[in-house]
Structures are given as C-alpha cells and as structure tokens.
C-alpha cells in the first residue's frame, strides 16, 4: 500500500531586499492514500505551487518532512512525476522524444521505449504529431504532451500544477475528462492544484482547500459524486 505523507511541512522564504520573511506555507499535514485523486484548491499566492514543489523535491521545506511509501523525500526523482504551471517541454526534442525523455534516462531499451511512447501518444490523442516540435503545437497539446511525459515514467504519484490554467473552458473540459480516463485505468495517486472550484470538484475524489497568506489548509472535503467521466 503506497501512500504520501506530508507532516508539518512549512516553507518560509527569506526576506527580499531587507524585507520581512514571507511565510508561503504554514506547517501542513496531509496524507494521500494510494489511488486517491486529491485536488488542492486555493486563491493565488496561498502556497499551492510551493507545496507541490516540496513534494516533487524541487524545494526544501523549512520545517517538516514528506515521505512517499515510508521513504523520506530529499530531492526530485522519477517516482514523482510533475506537470508544471508553465510550458516546460524540451523545445529541441520532438513530441515523442519529449515523452521518452525519462525512459531513456532510466536506460529502457529502444524497443521498450518506443512501445511505451506510442501507447501514451495514443492515450493523450496526439497521434500524427509524434515528429513535431513543441512550438508547432497548441498550448493544450503541449500540456497533454507534458502529462504523457510524466506518465511514461510510471511514477507512483502525479503532481499537476494548474495544468489547464491557460486553456479555454471547452478544451479544459476535454482535458479533464482525458485525465480522469487515464486515472481510472491506471489508478495512481494524483495531487492536482487548481484555483477553479468547478474543476476541483469535477476531477477530485477529495478536495483540500487552502486559505491565503500565510497559506494553510482550511478543510478537506470528500467528493461523494459518482465520477462524472464514467456516468456521462
């Protein structure tokens, strides 16, 4: 049984140019059981990205610890896939090479990598765009590629930081269903950050709400709705 355990995690940024230190995140506790889809909802600047970056190992908490399957998180690693708030595809790699980046790093055989990449290209609906450069794709297609790139690595947990924030409502709806579809097939832990209430309810099985400055968890609400992606 895999689980993510966040205990007492807080982050204080040192003051900028003689200013006062900024408490981005007050000490926070949260546990995410395996195959749970948790959305983190909160206003801009409440520390959502900070929390996600700490779980990813890209930032160090000033207090507390994060453990995944009992192992403390000390730095970034392939067991925690991340989709960033901004577009972070490697512009010099084609879509398929972007998706295969982690596999190559892991030392997967060429045949194995090709098969996995082809599977995820299909999953996120990018067939026909394998040889394109990222800048030849629309924003939504780039974020789908980023999701595929994270998933191809087979992480234990998927961390998504407002992945659909820049998309129009219609595309966003399609992307949410796509993500839910994949989640229902693979049942990974997901931490999904958003500031959109509808989105939080639609995709999450649990909603963590946060309040602004200094950021802290206000409530944790289970969503008892039947999963829309399956009922629609």
């Amino acid at each position: 049984m895999s689980a993510l355990l966040i205990s007492g995690v807080g982050r204080v940024f040192p003051g900028v140019r003689g200013g006062k230190p900024v408490t981005a995140l007050q000490p926070t506790d949260l546990s995410v059981p395996s195959d749970d889809f948790v959305t983190i909802l909160g206003p801009s600047g409440c520390g959502k990205s900070t929390l996600l970056r700490i779980v990813a190992g890209l930032d160090r908490p000033t207090s507390g610890t994060v453990t995944l399957d009992g192992r403390p998180v000390t730095g970034p690693g392939p067991d925690r896939g991340m989709v960033f708030q901004s577009y972070t595809l490697f512009p010099w790699l084609t879509i398929e090479d972007n998706i295969g980046f982690g596999l190559r790093e892991k030392g997967a055989s060429a045949a194995e990598a090709r098969e996995t990449v082809a599977y995820y290209v299909d999953q996120v609906g990018l067939t026909g765009f394998e040889k394109h450069w990222p800048k030849q794709l629309s924003g939504g297609m780039q974020q789908r590629t980023a999701i595929a790139r994270a998933l191809a690595n087979d992480p234990k947990i998927l961390l998504l930081d407002e992945p659909f924030g820049a998309l129009d409502n219609q595309t966003r709806g399609l992307m949410q269903e796509l993500l839910l579809g994949i989640w229902e097939r693979q049942h990974k832990m997901v931490l999904f950050v958003t500031h959109d209430i509808e989105e939080a309810i639609f995709v999450g099985s649990r909603i963590v709400t946060m309040s602004a400055r200094p950021g802290r968890i206000k409530s944790i609400i289970p969503v008892d709705l039947p999963h829309p992606a399956t009922t629609r």
Binding site: G77, R80, T88, E105, W133
Partner: protein
Amino acid sequence: MIRPFQPVSARARVALGLSFFALFVAVWSVATFGGFVSPTFLADPLTMLADGWFLLSRQDFLFDIGMTVWRVVGGFALAAVLAVPIGILMGAYKPVEALLEPFVSFSRYLPASAFVPLLILWAGIGETQKLLVIFIGSFFQIVLMVAGTVGATRQDLVEAAYTLGARDRGVVARVVIPSGAPDIAEILRLVLGWAWTYVIVAELIGASSGIGYMIINSQALMATGQIIFGIIVIGLIGLVTDVLFKAMNHRLFAWRFA
C-alpha cells in the same frame, strides 16, 4: 509597403543583398574614375581586378590565402575545442565560475595584437606564433560568452529533467548542452569573424606569407589595388563561411527555426 517583421521572398532577399554591393561598387567607381580621389590613395575597381589577377597568376597569391585560412582555422579550432567545454563547466558549476570568471574577464581585455611582440620573443616568427595570437584573441571571448549562455539555461527545463529522473550529468548532457547549442554555434560564428582581424595583425609583423604579409608589402610599393584586392578576398571568405555556418545551424538546430 514595408511593414515591421514582414518576411521577404527568397528572390527579393538575394536581389536586395546584391544591389547594395552594386551600389557600393558604383560609388567607388564614381569616386575613382570621376577623378575625385587620387589613384595614389585609392585604386579604381578595374585596377584592383588587374592587380588581383597579377597577384593570383604571378605572385602565387593562392598560397598566401591558403596560409591565412589555415592559421585562422587552426588557431580558432584550438581555442574553440578548449574554450567551449570550459565555458560549459563555468556556466553550469558555480564554484568553477567563481574560480575562473574574474581571471577570464581580465584576460579578455588584454588585446591580442599587443601580444605579438611578446609571442615573437617566445615562439619565434613561425606558425606557432601566428596560431597563438589567434588563440589568445578567441579563447577568453568564447569561454565567457559560452559561460553566459549556459548560465542562462531555463531553470524550469532543468527542474523538469530532474523530476523525470535525470541525474546531474544527464542534466548537463541532455538539457544544458542541447538548449545552449544554437547560441554556442552563434558565438563561434561571431568569434571566427574576430579571428580574421587577429590573423592579419599577426601577419603584418614578422611573416613571410599570408594575406597580411602581401598587404604590408603592397604598402611599400604603393599598390593600393593589391591592398584592396586582399581586403576584398578576406571579406569574400568571411561571407562564404558565414553563409555556410548559418546553413549548418539551420540544419542542426531545426527546432529553433521551425
């Protein structure tokens, strides 16, 4: 109508580029054939061509051109092979940068041409001295500019690579280098242009072959046509290498230009 950033067709581009050369030659012709400038100071285009033909057919000028090209390419290649890796290390690893950056910044301002007398003392007037002048002129510039480019690598891409399981070496090899490569190629193109200035300076003193040697000899003979021919040959070689460099960059870094 000309509008900002509107592209021109390939044919119009070539035509416009050539027409400016034509304008240049026209102005030169008017100034010389029209008798506005004395032939002692500036040869006319036809004299220049005749002098050029004389140099090529009688003075074995092709050999001089070959010598100069080899010196530029040799000194520059030597500098690039050493400077690019050092620049990458400096840009990526902050302690290396802290160690080398002040010294390299200082050395960059030492004028390569001022080293010519010293280098003649140290290395004689052979090829080693010529290569060293170009090396000194190019090496520090390349190191600093490459370090700057690498230091500006997009950190979000570096972080993405780490979350995908890359280690430090993987990040350098698969993010830092490919993301900086087009700019590094551009830096090399730029510095190669500067290397041409250093080679001529190196050849003006203590040389027995090369374009610069021919130019200093022609000065003694007041043969301005030959001097201008030499300068134009350098310009043409520069133009050709530039075009080749650009074509290579477009091929190698198609993602940039897509």
